[in-house]
Symmetry: C2
Amino acid sequence: MTVTLADVAARAQVSPATVSRVLNGNYPVAASTRERVLKAVDELDYVLNGPASALAAATSDLVGILVNDIADPFFGIMAGAVQSEIGGPGGRAGGERLAVVCNTGGTPERELTYLTLLQRQRAAAVVLTGGAMEDEAHQTAVAAKLRRLTEAGTRVVLCGRPPAPDTGAIALTFDNRGGGRELTEHLIGLGHRRLGYIAGPRERTTTRHRLEGHRAALAAHGIEEDPRWTVHGRYDRQAGYEATLELMRRDPTLTAVVAANDTVALGACAALRDSGLRIPDDVSVAGFDDLPFSIDAVPALTTVRLPLAEAGARAGRVAMGREEAPVGGIATVRGELMVRGSSGGPRS
Amino acid sequence: MTVTLADVAARAQVSPATVSRVLNGNYPVAASTRERVLKAVDELDYVLNGPASALAAATSDLVGILVNDIADPFFGIMAGAVQSEIGGPGGRAGGERLAVVCNTGGTPERELTYLTLLQRQRAAAVVLTGGAMEDEAHQTAVAAKLRRLTEAGTRVVLCGRPPAPDTGAIALTFDNRGGGRELTEHLIGLGHRRLGYIAGPRERTTTRHRLEGHRAALAAHGIEEDPRWTVHGRYDRQAGYEATLELMRRDPTLTAVVAANDTVALGACAALRDSGLRIPDDVSVAGFDDLPFSIDAVPALTTVRLPLAEAGARAGRVAMGREEAPVGGIATVRGELMVRGSSGGPRS
DNA sequence: AGCCGCACAGCAAGCGCTTTCTATGTAGAA
DNA sequence: TTCTACATAGAAAGCGCTTGCTGTGCGGCT
C-alpha cells in the first residue's frame, strides 16, 4: 500500500488536517508542528495523491498546451516558452504545475478530443498554439468548448491563433498578413515582378493570412497575379520541394519564390538547386517564421521573424494570471523582416 | 455548478452506478438503458471528472514524457512518436490517455521534480528520453524514484537512455558508442588522420559514449589523439560555431571535424565557411542523429541516423503494455551511417 | 410446476484529500 | 482574578466517482 496523509499524520502525531495544512502552507501552523510533519513526510517518502487533492480542492495543477506538431520547432519553441512560464519546476511562481503538451497533428477531431480531455482533468489553463482550421462546423465546436472551459474557470489563451470571439479566450495573434505583405514588398522593391507562392494547406488561417498579405503587396504595386503562380501543399520540406518544381514547370520565368514558412522554403531551395538554379542569382527565395535553422541555410534565408519564444512566454504568464490580459482580450504580435542572402535582384 | 454523474443518472432515470458502467463499458448494460444514458450525457453536455475518477479507480490516464528540450527536434520527434502510440485521441487503443510532455531543460532538479509530479498524479506510465546526467548522487536519486514508480505500478521506459539497473525500468538504448565509432572509421577510411572532435556537455552519457566511440576508432587505427583536438560545449549551434573556431585555432592542420550532433555540426559548418574554408574540400564535417534539416545543409551532412521516431513509437507501445518488453528489459537501438556530401578525402 | 442461474440494476462503502466549524490552551485586557 | 481574543489543532463532512455485493425478474432446466 502506498503512504497516505493519514500515515504521515499518525507518525507525526497530528491530525490529517494539520498535515494537509503544512503541505499547502495556507493556514497557520506552529513551527515545531510543521517540522515534525515535514520530518514524517520525509521519513515515509510521502507523495501527495494528486487526483484526491484535485477532487477535494476542485482545482488542478495541470496546464494544457495544444500544438499541431510537436516535432516542428515552430511549436516546440512556443511550447517550451509557455512551459517555462507556467511555474513548473524551476519556474518562479510557487505551486508546481504540470504542463501537458498535446499533439493534435492538425486534425480537428484530435483538437476537440484533447480539449475534452483537458476539461475532464479540470485543467487550470489551456494554451492553443498555431493557426486554426477554417472549417465552419469545427470552429463552432471549438468555440463552444472554449466557452465551457472559460466558464468553468479555466483560463484559455490563444497563441499565434486568431481570436475566438465570445469565448472568453485571450488571443495573442500573429500578424501573418502584415508580415506576408512586408516580405513580398521587399522582393518587389528588389525588382521582382514574377513571384511564385507556395501556400500551406488550405483551410488554415495561417495559410490564408500569409497569402492575403502576399497578394495585397502585389496589388499595391499593380502587379497582376497569374493563378498559376500559387501552389498549395503541406507545411513540410517535401511539399516545398515538389511545389517548387511544379511552379517552375508552370512558369520558368519566375524570378522569386515565396514560401509559406521556412521549412517549405528549405524544400524550395533544394528543388531549385537540384534544377541547377542558383539562389539568389537565378531565383530568390523567402520563408516565414525564422526558425533557428534558417540562418544556416546556404544562402541564409530571407524571412519574417516571429517572436515565438516571447509570445509563448507571454501566453504562459497570461494563462497563469501573472500578466494582465491585453485590452479587449486581443493583442497582435508583429513579425520582423529579416533580409538575408536568399533574396537579391532578379536576373536580367 | 458543473454537471455530475448524479445529474446524468437522474435525467436518464437510472442509478449513478449504471451511468458509470455505461461510460466505462466494463459491465453489461442493456442496450436500451445504455442509449438512454448516452442521450442524457449528450443533452447535459456531461464531462467526466477526471480527478474523481482517478481517485476512485486508483488509476490515471496520464502518461509522462520527459525531454531535455522540447524545442529541439531530436526530442520533439521522439515525444511525438511516443504520444502517437499511447492511444491518445486517434490512437488505436481504447481508453484515451493524456500525454504529458515535461521539459527538464537537462537539469537534474527539474528531472526529479517532474518525476515526483508524475508520481503524484499516479501516472500510468513514464517515458524518459535522451541521455542521462552522470552525476552520481543524481543517478541514485533518479534510480530510487524510478523504483518507487515501478513499484507503484507505473510502467517506466527509458528511450535513448542508458539502462537503470534494479529499477524495473525498460530501456531502449541508442548505440551511441557504436555509431560514433562507425562515423569516425568512415572518415579514417577516407584518409583523415587529424580529426577534431566537438563533444557535448560533460557529465552526459550521450556525450561520453559518442566520444568513446570516436576514440575507439582512432585507437583501432593506431592514430594517436592530440588532447587539443577535443573541445566540449553545449548541444547547440553556437557552441558548435565557437568550438570549431577554437579547434582550428589550436590546430589549423585538422582535416575533419566530428560534431557530437547535427545541430553542433551545423554551427561547425558555419564557422568553417566564415573562415573561408570549403566543405569537404578543405575540411570534412560529420554530425550525429540525422535530424530532418541535416539533409538540407549545403553540402548535406554526413551523420549517423538514429531511428528516433521508431524508437519513440516502440517506447510508447511498451509503456502501454501493447508490446512485450525486450528480454532482460534492455534493447539496443543501432544507428545507421549516412554518408553525404560533407565528408570527403582530406586535402593533400 | 418448481428451481437454478443469468442478466441487469441499485445500494452503499469507500478512494485520499481539503476545509469548515468547533474545541482548546494561552496571553493580554479589564 | 476573570473575561475576551487569538493562535492552533482536530473532528467530520464531503468532493464525484467506482465497484463489490445485494436484489429482482425472467428463461430454461429437470
